[in-house]
């Protein structure tokens, strides 16, 4: 813009008699100053946000130059120098009174415009940055939403749906079958060269290198091996293993039945329920006999199995009791 405008300015100021003396030139100065202010702020902006290249494109387009970039810059700089020189020339050639009078207005206006533009740019940047960070999926905001992080300052991301998996317009196989297009980019393909024979050779190599039997017997360090067990299939578990226990508190057959159970009350719950029932009956008959008031310690005894259950349920829910299990993320995301 500065480039395009400079010659005009030049031509106008060289023919001062055509336009009215005072008015014409002072407005020219004004315009020139504004232009300088604008381009200066833009220069700042360029430094700050190189990514916003479209504006530069507009700049260079209006500069109307398809030539080499170096040449362009040079001409730009030259043009800038020129314009300053021209400005100084014109200023010098003016009658001093007019100049002083108009100077204040021009400078104030230029400064004002400069400040306003800067504020606007900053505001837009902040706004854009906020918008981007709040709308980007997978940010920390999602951890807040899932109750893993404790902050409600952050936004909540929008739900997401994926359409038909059998119709993905982003993936196309090239006509020649030697290219594939994904996400708008074309990739070349190279054939896999591994043959069945090579695979077999590797298998043979491994079968020589590693001989192993999957352990079926787990013993604590220090235990003795039962006589009918192949020592190769014994796995020694350190006594302080963090999550494994060799002592089976549960009967194996019982556990298997529990896994296979399809309906009804789970075994342990049933057992506890029955125990409770027996206790209750015993207590009732006792009460009938003794006509006693209900003992508060006995009442507590009744509550125990229930408490046991709820504590079980809570144990797996992690730190997120704020989001109950019935308001889980999937439900919230359901359209």
């Amino acid at each position: 813009m500065a480039l395009v405008w400079n010659p005009q300015f030049h031509s106008i100021s060289s023919q001062p008699s055509i336009c009215g003396w005072k008015h014409g030139i002072s407005s020219n100065i004004l315009e020139h100053r504004r232009e300088l202010g604008l381009s200066y702020s833009r220069y700042n902006w360029v430094q700050q946000r190189t990514a916003r290249s479209f504006l530069f494109r507009a700049l260079s387009k209006s500069a109307n130059s398809d030539e080499d970039k170096v040449v362009k810059t040079e001409t730009e700089i030259n043009g800038w120098k020129n314009s300053i020189g021209k400005l100084q020339e014109t200023i010098k050639s003016f009658p001093p009174v007019v100049f002083v009078m108009k100077k204040d207005v021009g400078i104030n206006f230029a400064i004002g415009l400069c400040v306003a533009t800067t504020i606007l740019v900053v505001a837009v940047r902040v706004y854009v940055a906020r918008k981007v960070s709040s709308s980007r999926p997978g940010s920390v905001a999602d951890l807040v939403r899932r109750g893993q992080l404790r902050s409600d300052r952050r936004g909540i991301s929008s739900p997401l749906k994926y359409e038909d998996p059998f119709n993905n317009p982003l993936v196309k196989v090239g006509k020649s079958n030697s290219t594939v297009e994904m996400c708008g980019k074309v990739y070349r393909l190279a054939p896999v060269t591994l043959t069945k024979e090579q695979q077999a050779i590797h298998q043979k190599r491994r079968s020589r290198a590693y001989q192993w039997k999957r352990p079926t017997m787990f013993l604590k360090e220090g235990d003795s091996i039962p006589s009918d067990v192949d020592p190769d299939t014994v796995r020694w578990i350190p006594a302080n293993h963090p999550f494994a226990t060799t002592a089976s508190e549960i009967d194996e057959g019982l556990a298997q039945n529990n896994v296979y159970q399809k309906h009804g009350v789970p075994f342990r719950i049933q057992a506890e329920h029955e125990a409770l029932q027996r206790k209750l009956e015993a207590l009732q008959s006792e009460q009938k006999l003794n006509k006693l008031v209900i003992d508060p310690t006995n009442a507590k005894d009744f509550e125990r199995p229930f408490k046991h259950l709820t504590s079980h349920e809570q144990a797996g829910q992690g730190p997120s009791n704020r989001i109950g299990s019935d308001s889980s993320p999937e439900e919230m995301q359901k359209p």
Binding site: S39, I269, K334
Partner: protein, 333 residues
């Protein structure tokens, strides 16, 4: 004023950040992508088959339920990520899936799936008789044919003597379910070759080996493959995760075909390194559900596709084909 300089210096910053050329081959001829007017060598068309399939439902191969253990040996290479993404992909493709988190001490599949608030019961409670199996299965509300089953709560102890047996019973019980057997049972195996590994592989018929293209992960992968083969699991395919083309180009990372040469396993998938993985973990929304899909998501989806058809990769993506960029390509053209 500086703008004309900045402009041509960054031809397309987005393309290099968001879509790194995901995969690269050993072929030395392809290792010169820096040439400006690079003409791709014509490949022998008979050796290349398309790596991607869409627009049809994959054909389920093999007997159901397909019991697949996802293992790696080394920790932190992406087993859980793979289980979550492949599992949900399978569900989206229309198959019923039960994903079992067999990581006894350090379970996290529920977090990746965003189901952590709904795990009330685990296999330990089922074994104890505190609940029935169907009560311990957590049904995903996004795809109701996907269910999660956790082995244990972080603090509880598993009677290790019958961990493997317990998983076998579970598979049997799932087979005999009234609503029918699930098509896939995916088992997320813990790291190492300890008791957890032994438990996890016990009921499996096939295995997916997850590895990254580095030597430590590869050595563990080879060992684990050997153990699996000793245990009679012969159908082992690998997923190469966290592949970075820029490092392969700089010869700092092995290529996928290098990895294959070292392990001699069929390729189920190649997953590029993708920062979206962490974001999707934050959201509890596996990558494959991202819209628009990311490259890693597409790669997982294709791996799931091949798993269904018991297929393997016949071709790997090498590099981005250089495109002539127009003057106005900046505007998104």
């Amino acid at each position: 004023m500086l703008s004309p300089q900045l402009l041509p210096k960054t031809p397309n910053p987005l393309s290099s950040i968001y879509t790194p050329n995901p995969f690269k081959s050993l072929n030395p001829k392809t290792l010169k992508p820096s040439k400006p007017n690079f003409k791709p060598k014509p490949h022998n068309p008979t050796t290349i088959q398309s790596v991607l399939q869409w627009n049809r439902k994959p054909q389920l191969a093999g007997d159901t339920p397909r019991v697949v253990v996802i293992t790696s040996g080394k920790g932190g290479v992406g087993k859980t990520t793979t289980t979550a993404n492949v599992g949900l992909s399978l569900a989206r493709l229309g198959f019923s899936v039960v994903a079992i988190d067999a990581d006894v001490g350090l379970r996290n599949l529920d977090l990746l799936l965003g189901l952590e608030n709904r795990v009330n019961y685990t296999v330990v409670e089922v074994l104890n008789g505190d609940c029935r199996l169907d009560q311990a299965l957590v049904r995903d509300k996004r795809w109701s044919n996907f269910e999660l089953l956790c082995i244990s709560k972080p603090r509880s102890k598993l009677p290790i003597g019958f961990g493997g047996k317990a998983l076998t019973w579970l598979v049997d019980a799932l087979k005999a379910r009234e609503e029918g057997s699930p098509d896939f049972i995916l088992i997320d195996c813990p790291a190492g070759i300890d008791a957890g590994f032994i438990t996890a592989i016990a009921p499996a018929n096939e295995a997916v080996l997850v590895t990254t293209p580095d030597i430590t992960s590869l050595r563990d992968a080879d060992r684990v493959t050997g153990l699996l083969e000793c245990d009679g699991i012969k159908d082992i395919k690998m997923i190469v995760n966290r592949v970075r083309t820029d490092m392969i180009k700089g010869e700092d990372m092995m290529s996928v075909l290098d990895v294959q040469e070292m392990l001699g396993l069929a390729l189920l998938g190649v997953i590029p390194e993708d920062s979206e993985v962490i974001r999707s973990t934050n959201r509890g929304y596996p990558l494959v559900l991202n819209k628009p899909p990311t490259l890693a998501g597409l790669a997982f989806e294709q791996a799931a596709w091949r798993l269904v058809e018991q297929d393997s990769m016949q071709a790997v993506v090498v590099e981005e084909e250089p495109k002539k960029r127009g003057f106005f390509s900046f505007f998104g053209g």
